[in-house]
């Protein structure tokens, strides 16, 4: 089934608006996505009619809210094809999930001299938490490099994996290059050495169907707001055996079993990892967003975005003065580029005034910029509601920028 973009666009109220008296062309989906009306209504209705703290009261509203929250967990479980609902932990986002695992895994398994492997194309959210852990435990980071076209050099793992390696944490789809990394291959190799793998899915769940059991990752994390859901909600998937083993990363209410001043025992999974009043409305909104993308079909979304990516790549390449970063396949719908002789910030400023929302700068991935020796890129990141006409407008804006600065 082909998705009908024109119908889909009607589901997103924000896409109808104008900026600077021009129709908005929103190509900053890698940063955050716009919300379909079903998600907006779901959150609105919850505040209006259903709001009540979960897992607490015996009253009607609390029971109902609890049920919706736990149903949201099941929706996420099905979306990722996780084996159990209690393998799904609600967090504040990808960053919160990575930090949580870095803390808990670090407490339990990391000691002096141990090593953690990440890649050269990580987002800062999958670098800094590990650096903090390494500093705390006197461990060290090792880096899988990537080639100039944006391909992860997984062969290097043979050299990087040592008896000291405790964990590999790797980005599924690069937020700068769009490269879809061969995580299954990395996981297979890591597992032959009994090394667990965390997959950062912040840029992947919204673009491709993910099956955590098939992938066999030990941890998988993503953010709600990048998959058409609300902000402030994210997912930490962990295999049951790991989540059982790991200590909690936050203490507070709801995550406990018996509390005395001498000793506290923890609640069962997944509540052990959900201290305090959780963002239950965020969780329910996220579930609604997952239902939305599922109703369209991940494969249909992927096919549409792929077509746009190919069209965008060829139109930008035609210009002859655009350098695209990340040309290796398989690639997701992220177009990072620079216009010859033009600073990305200048380009972004002019494009903004033409109604085009792109991101410029280092995209929270400074090591990727250092790889190429550049200050930043312009990034157009596409979503299911973008159109070929919007790519044309992007190309026109690039031409305009070139005449102004080039």
């Amino acid at each position: 089934m082909k998705i009908n973009v024109n119908t889909i666009r009607n589901d997103f109220p924000l896409l109808q608006r104008q900026v600077y008296n021009k129709p908005l062309i929103y190509l900053d989906n890698g940063a955050t996505t716009q919300k379909p009306v079903s998600v907006i209504n779901c959150i609105h209705d919850f505040h209006r009619f259903k709001n009540s703290s979960i897992h607490r009261g015996v009253h009607y509203l609390s029971e109902q809210a609890t049920e919706e929250y736990e149903n949201a967990r099941k929706t996420v479980q099905q979306f990722l094809n996780a084996a159990h609902p209690h393998e799904i932990v609600f967090t504040a986002g990808t960053t919160g999930s990575v930090n949580g695992i870095a803390f808990s895994f670090g407490e339990r398994y990391i000691g002096e001299g141990d090593e953690i492997i990440i890649s050269e194309m990580e987002h800062h959210a999958n670098i800094v938490p590990w650096q903090i852990l390494c500093e705390r435990k006197k461990a060290s980071l090792k880096i899988i490099p990537f080639s100039d076209d944006g391909l992860l050099q997984t062969k290097e793992l043979d050299r990087l994996i040592t008896p000291k390696t405790r964990l590999i944490s790797v980005i599924h789809i690069s937020n700068v290059l769009g490269t879809i990394n061969p995580v299954e291959e990395i996981i297979r190799k890591a597992h032959t050495f009994n090394i667990p793998v965390l997959v950062d899915g912040a840029q992947s769940v919204q673009h491709a169907s993910v099956d955590v059991q098939k992938m066999d990752c030990d941890f998988f994390v993503f953010s709600g707001h990048k998959i058409y859901g609300p902000t402030g909600i994210g997912i930490l998937y962990g295999k049951e055996k790991w989540l059982q083993e790991l200590p909690p990363f936050q203490g507070g209410g709801d995550m406990v079993d018996i509390v005395t001043f001498e000793k506290t025992t923890y609640n069962r999974l997944p509540f052990k990892f959900e201290a305090g009043t959780p963002n239950y409305i965020g969780a329910i909104g996220l579930a609604e967003a997952l239902k939305y993308v599922s109703s369209l079909g991940m494969n249909n979304i992927m096919a549409h975005e792929h077509q746009l990516l190919d069209y965008g790549m060829s139109r930008l390449n035609e210009l002859g003065y655009v350098k695209i970063y990340g040309t290796a396949r398989p690639k997701s719908s992220i177009l990072s580029f620079n216009i010859k002789g033009v600073h990305p910030y200048d380009a972004g400023m002019v494009m903004d005034k033409m109604g085009i929302a792109v991101r410029t700068g280092t995209h929270c991935a400074q090591p990727v910029m250092q790889h190429y020796g550049i200050e930043g890129t312009i990034r157009a990141s596409l979503a299911l509601y973008n159109t070929a006409e919007e790519i044309d407008a992007l190309v026109e804006s690039v031409k305009k920028v070139k005449t102004m600065f080039g």
């Binding site: 600077y20 600073h343 990305p344 910030y345 200048d346 972004g348 400023m349 002019v350 005034k353 410029t360 700068g361 280092t362 200050e375 930043g376 305009k400 102004m404 600065f405």
Partner: protein, 151 residues
């Protein structure tokens, strides 16, 4: 010295008014940007030897280098940026503030930025180095004021 300045140097308010008038003719953003590109060429460029880390004001989006020199009671700024629009705005800031006394610089309200519609370029979230540059300029002024009032 102060009397000489008020006689021969346009005061900061006059320069700001002058800039506002220049920008009033542009109602289209592209024309405004084209004018900023033009202005970027007027920037008193920093000596390349002074484009060092100590003079770099790092923004996440663009870089600004700034140097200050004190001569006969007034401060003179030179600068550069890797982004042209930033450079254009820097040239405006320097046109307004350079050649004035530390006292004047410290107490200046840079209202022209708002009036020519470039306020968003100075918001902290832009992190293009401009806001830090203004802070740095005022810090230089404060430092020179302290230094010479002690003498």
């Amino acid at each position: 010295m102060l009397i000489v300045n008020t006689l021969y140097v346009k005061n900061i308010r006059d320069i700001q008014e002058e800039i506002i008038a220049e920008f009033e003719v542009y109602d289209d953003w592209m024309d405004k940007y084209n004018y900023l590109i033009e202005l970027s060429r007027n920037l008193p460029l920093i000596d390349p030897n002074l484009k060092i880390k100590e003079n770099l004001i790092n923004g996440c989006q663009s870089k600004v280098w700034l140097n200050a020199e004190y001569q006969n009671g007034t401060i003179h700024f030179t600068a550069d940026s890797d982004a042209i629009i930033t450079k254009g705005i820097v040239s405006l800031l320097i046109r307004v503030l350079s050649g004035h006394t530390p006292e004047e610089i410290i107490h200046t309200d840079l209202y022209f930025i708002d009036r020519i519609g470039l306020r968003q370029n100075l918001s902290p979230t832009r992190s293009n180095g401009l806001l830090s540059m203004i802070k740095q300029i005022k810090l230089y002024a404060l430092a020179y004021q302290t230094k010479f009032s002690e003498k």
